[in-house]
Symmetry: C2
Subunit: 335 residues, 2 copies
């Protein structure tokens, strides 16, 4: 089995985030031969632990000899990660990410590692605020790989949700919302933790509780802080709610709707009325965002996150192959 | 010393919250003879532990014989506290709080304990949402004790900040904002924790960072979630910020301004332009709120929180003395 993989392995793609790494082994045609991963994200690793963590995830796929390209996006390229791949400033062409890639020194001769850069945005006193991304730019490159010259608005939901404006395959602006983290802190650690539970929206009443909350927060974002405490008060006083777990699910759906509605509030005026927002990520979370957008009268379409990141990494690899260049080597290391 | 207190002690006032209790021993004229307290708040106690915790705080003041009235406001009267003093619904006259008081059974014959009720508000589909308070109503009663028939808007900043509309000494509406808790979670446990520090606003640049943030959040509350992540991005990218602790203080002042500005956003239209908001609480926090209100062109005045709670409890005691009634005894207990 592993020998089969090793024989056909052409390259490896890795999405290495703060809390986990996900790796894919691919053949020459871009077919996924193997999947791996671990919870050894950037936050759990010191610099010298990256290569062992990588080998733990993909070592079994590697042929005994050879030099396999390993393309990595995400927090492994942060300053506090394996080796810094400095942010590219906007505007940033997504078919040119490889120009900001760096190659960390590795001990295992079978590895040819390349870290892709993130993007940064400087404040311009108007629409653009200081902002950064690492990892999402590679998923966006995947969108552009599939739809060259893409223009429009993309959203990548998550702990730190990204909204990205693209023009002709170039990122011209983006904004990050702390939505997922805010939800997690409120649901898990605030006074609301006794009143809410994570809810699938197909539980009775949860879908409506979610969309009502989206509309309330989007139309009156200034009441967000009151709406939050209102969840606790409703738990104490509202006789119209069900009891027990169903009550907590209903209030959890409402909390999720409030945080996503707050996120959408400032964007409502900018959401295209004539074109769909492109949601990139896992289906469950993108479905929830699609429902929230729909509650505000907007349409969306979905691009799977894994598909996007693989297409984005492949695009970076093609760029490098086309230019005949290897990645830059970080300052202070011998190529 | 303690014998002096015991000779002159007329009554005891206790503000018993979620995380601490504060107690005052007073003479017949309402002069404070002694102060005590501990971190044995409601969250740290089971029902049978309240009387020992109370005796630990005030036992030394009690005369060997006698029957000292002990008036308690706050979470000790919650359902999960010592003994439930059920919420009074709105509209609630603040000079009649004693009518909702209950007396828990106590073992020590020197104690005559009375728990004051909180207030609750039912949603009316318009301005009023479900809401509850416990403890703040007694501080508001103190405002009314000092200014009988008070009408106006009062704010009690804190973990859960209360905004309260009073008409002729009666609470007609209130709204709770999760502001303090939100700030604590974001500053202490989110990705922002690396970028911010609690800041006194007299540190260089902090006052302006705070007031700018108040105005930004109040005028564009829908951007709150973006503004939060913007603190992290500014820490990474903004060369105009100082370094080290001064940088974190500046960003901490900004985070404080964003959370308070969000709270004020929905209230801006309701803030009286011709009258001052009455801020009740400790001076440091009330000063910060006064500055925030001032940044939005509104005026305020300050009533010290301890003064307010003592005046409120005294008012309740006077009411009971005037009616000649003792407090109600909770259901199921023998008076």
């Amino acid at each position: 089995m592993h020998e089969d993989i090793a024989e056909r392995l052409a390259w490896v793609a890795v999405d290495w985030g703060s809390s986990q790494l996900r790796a894919w082994g691919l053949d020459e045609r871009g077919e996924v031969l193997a999947r791996g991963g671990s919870d050894k994200g950037m936050l759990a690793l010191t610099q010298v632990e990256y290569e062992p963590a990588l080998l733990e995830a993909i070592g079994e796929w590697l042929p005994p000899s050879g030099h396999v390209p390993v393309w990595i996006c995400g927090m492994a390229g942060a300053r506090q990660g394996w080796c810094e791949a400095a942010y590219l400033p906007l505007p940033a062409r997504l078919d040119q990410l490889a120009r900001g890639a760096v190659a960390p020194a590795v001990g295992d001769p079978r590895l040819n590692v390349c870290l892709l850069p993130g993007l940064c945005q400087y404040a311009d006193g108007a629409q653009r605020s200081f902002d950064v991304m690492r990892g999402e730019e590679t998923q966006l490159a995947g969108l552009v790989a599939r739809e060259p010259g893409f223009s429009g608005l993309a959203c990548l939901p998550g702990t730190h949700a990204k909204w990205v404006w693209l023009e002709a395959g170039t990122v011209v602006r983006f904004a990050t919302c702390l939505t997922g983290e805010l939800y997690g802190l409120l649901a898990g650690q605030s006074v609301l933790r006794h009143s809410v539970a994570d809810a699938a929206l197909d539980e009775p009443g949860c879908r409506e509780a979610f969309t009502d909350a989206v509309r309330e927060a989007a139309s009156a974002p200034g009441r967000f802080s009151q709406q939050l405490f209102g969840l606790r008060a409703a738990d104490l006083l509202d006789d119209s709610l069900p009891h027990g777990q169903a009550r907590r699910a209903r209030l959890g759906a409402r909390l999720s709707g409030l945080t996503i509605g707050l996120e959408l509030s400032a964007l409502t005026d900018e959401l295209p009325s004539d074109a769909a927002v492109t949601l990139i990520g896992n289906a469950t979370l993108c479905d929830r965002y699609a429902l929230a957008l729909s509650a505000l009268g907007r349409s969306s379409r979905h691009l799977d996150g894994e598909t996007a990141v693989l297409a984005g990494i492949e695009l970076a690899g093609l760029e490098l192959a086309a230019t005949g260049m290897g990645p830059a080597h970080p300052t202070g290391e011998t190529p």
